[in-house]
């Protein structure tokens, strides 16, 4: 509850900051301080210290898993603010409002990590999405940004409609909004409800809507244009925190009910995973712009994260947390560098290692982590996801794992293209001047990624405190 209340309050604080000061640095610093308070408030929840004692009527349920994801999300946002905060202030004139909207997104995140009711799922997804639509269109003078915002908004509204349809069907089947399946009492009514067709149908609709939100194929069509059109700072936020939380929602909703989706779920989920990996990886190969490549690669990464649905066990839950950390940290780092670049194509990176060796080194580590090279966090993230699949289904999952590994190998190609451009090509990349603290934070982030890559259990042990 702390996180939900504090993030909403944080949004309001940021709104009012805009009245009292126009100084961008002050606004940015206030945002960072508010975020720190939010992080602390969330950590206090671990120790049972609450701001308010609210009777949530079982609408929300807080567990270590959700709280830990909150911590990850808030930490990532903190790093994001530290690295790219200055760039947020450059998007337009409504600086305080951008930060306010980001805090509202975090409120949506904290709802989605604790919902125990379909109503809260809907509210969480909407609170998450609506600020993102706005942030996508924040660069009002840029036609691409406008187009992206409109596209995102229309597609997002459709998927929300599908979600609502699913929720309505589930409500029709069980008579309440709880995410747990109807308790099979001895009465005949309950028995009928369990065998009903409405439940799988409703779950399927919700499933599709969530697939849309996490940008899995075949519902990925909005991703490249939206990620490409949105101001780069906000793409960074959208592609990481806002996306990873979709998988958390998936886990909460489907961990006990995946079987109710019907026997076809055995086919649907592997199909979605393979299609997502295929489309994400293959299309990313042909991109000329690093930003667009990252958009497709984020689809590909979603394919790996979808393993959480396939295996649906303890390892996959741990894996998704690790994956969120690895993916969010690395992507935030890459985007922080991308924003500083003038030319977003691969050629724009030519010779970056000569000009800015530290930044190039950090970028390399982030890219290696995304590619899943050992000794980086990304390796263990992928490892956990694949391991969970084997644990869940044994030999039957082997072919899926092999396919995933093959696609991971494909992904190495386009990640290494950036590295190759930075180190082995001559050129004079135009990069905005960066101060020392930017480089320090970037290197610290790279160090964290390597540290997690060496000792992944350190992160996961948090779960069992």
């Amino acid at each position: 509850m702390n996180a939900i209340i504090l993030s909403a309050l944080g949004g309001i604080v940021m709104m009012f900051t805009g009245i009292f000061t126009q100084n961008k640095i002050v606004i940015k610093n206030i945002a960072i301080i508010t975020l720190l308070l939010l992080l602390i408030g969330n950590l206090l929840h671990f120790y049972g210290i609450y701001m308010l004692h609210v009777d949530v009527k079982d609408m929300l349920q807080f567990n270590n898993f959700g709280l830990f994801f909150n911590t990850i999300a808030f930490t990532s946002t903190l790093i994001y603010f530290l690295l790219s905060g200055t760039d947020i202030t450059k998007v337009g004139i409504n600086v305080a409002e951008y930060f306010a909207l980001i805090f509202f997104v975090l409120c949506g995140v904290s709802i989605l990590t604790s919902f125990h009711n379909l109503l809260m799922l809907f509210l969480g997804i909407e609170i998450l999405s609506i600020p993102l639509y706005i942030l996508t269109g924040a660069d009002k003078k840029n036609l691409k940004s406008n187009e992206a915002a409109l596209k995102y908004f229309l597609m997002g509204s459709f998927s929300t409609g599908i979600l609502l349809m699913g929720i309505a069907l589930l409500y029709g089947a069980s008579g309440n909004f709880s995410i747990e399946s109807v308790p099979s009492t001895t009465s005949k009514v309950a028995e009928m409800a369990n065998s009903s067709i409405l439940t799988p149908l409703g779950l399927l609709f919700v499933f599709v809507a969530l697939l849309f939100k996490v940008s899995a194929a075949p519902f990925h069509f909005w991703v490249p244009d939206v990620y490409d059109g949105a101001p780069s700072v906000f793409t960074s936020f959208m592609a990481t925190i806002a996306k990873a939380v979709g998988f958390i929602a998936f886990i909460f909703l489907f961990e006990s009910r995946i079987a109710e989706l019907g026997p076809s779920s055995r086919i649907i989920i592997p199909f979605v995973i393979i299609l997502t990996l295929l489309i994400g990886n293959i299309t990313a190969v042909f991109q000329q712009s690093v930003k667009r490549m990252l958009a497709y690669s984020s689809i590909a990464q979603a394919g790996f994260m979808l393993f959480v649905l396939y295996s649906n066990n303890d390892i996959s839950s741990e894996g998704i947390l690790l994956y969120s950390v690895a993916y969010s940290f690395a992507t935030i780092g890459i985007f922080a560098i991308l924003i500083k670049m003038k030319d977003y194509t691969f050629e724009g990176y030519n010779g970056l290692a000569k000009k800015e060796p530290l930044i190039a080194a950090a970028n390399t580590i982030f890219l290696l982590s995304l590619a899943g090279i050992p000794l980086t966090a990304g390796f263990f993230a992928k490892y956990y996801m694949l391991l969970s699949a084997i644990k869940a289904n044994g030999q039957n999952a082997l072919w899926l794992v092999i396919v995933a590994v093959l696609f991971a190998a494909v992904s190495v190609y386009y990640y290494f293209r950036v590295i190759q451009a930075m180190y082995f090509k001559e050129g004079n990349p135009e990069i905005a001047t960066t101060n020392t603290s930017f480089k320090v934070i970037l290197l610290a982030l790279a160090a964290i990624i390597i540290f997690i890559g060496l000792f992944p259990t350190v992160v996961l042990n948090f779960l069992y405190f």
Binding site: M15, K57, L60, I93, N94, Y98, C107, I127, A193, I197
Partner: protein, 167 residues
């Protein structure tokens, strides 16, 4: 067939025909007006179910506010038959096939659904839709979503200001 049944069939027919007309009208303004007719028909159904509050809120929010803003935008954009893009025949065919398949699956599934079969709706009785019952539920069992939805509206409002403000 009593008066309620007659009303039910009339309203259903009105709702379905209007919904079809929303899609079939060439002129977007006509579509919006048909959509308002759909909302009216649905509100009529709510009243038959003794959910007057829901009926009225449906009219206030959808017909009175959202559709009026729709009309606003569409009328000012001056869209008409000439500016409508040409449709590709194959695209229409594909749309009809995929939409039709979905419709078929949904209809056939819902026909099997045990909850719906051979059940009648409570007409003109029951107090679930009354404002008193709704209010009490909203402030007891559903108070958390009710309050949290304020964050949703706040963020939407901030967003509207960000988009609408002159730079």
């Amino acid at each position: 067939m009593n008066a309620i049944e007659i009303l039910f069939w009339l309203l259903s027919a009105l709702a379905i025909i209007s919904a079809m007309m929303v899609l079939l009208s060439k002129n977007p303004v006509h579509s919006v007006l048909w959509l308002i007719a759909v909302f009216f028909a649905i509100s009529g159904h709510y009243i038959l179910l003794n959910a007057q509050f829901l009926a009225i809120v449906n009219i206030i929010v959808y017909a009175g506010a959202i559709m009026v803003l729709f009309l606003f935008v569409i009328m000012l954009m001056n869209l008409n038959k000439e500016s409508e893009p040409k449709r590709n025949f194959w695209r229409i065919l594909i749309g009809i096939i995929s939409g039709g398949s979905l419709l078929m699956i949904l209809v056939s599934l819902i026909r099997q659904a045990t909850e719906i079969n051979n059940k009648n709706a409570l007409m003109e009785s029951g107090n679930i839709g009354l404002i008193k019952t709704l209010g009490k539920l909203l402030f007891s069992d559903y108070v958390v979503p009710f309050e949290i939805s304020s964050v949703l509206f706040l963020s939407a409002m901030v967003g509207a200001v960000v988009i609408g403000k002159k730079e």
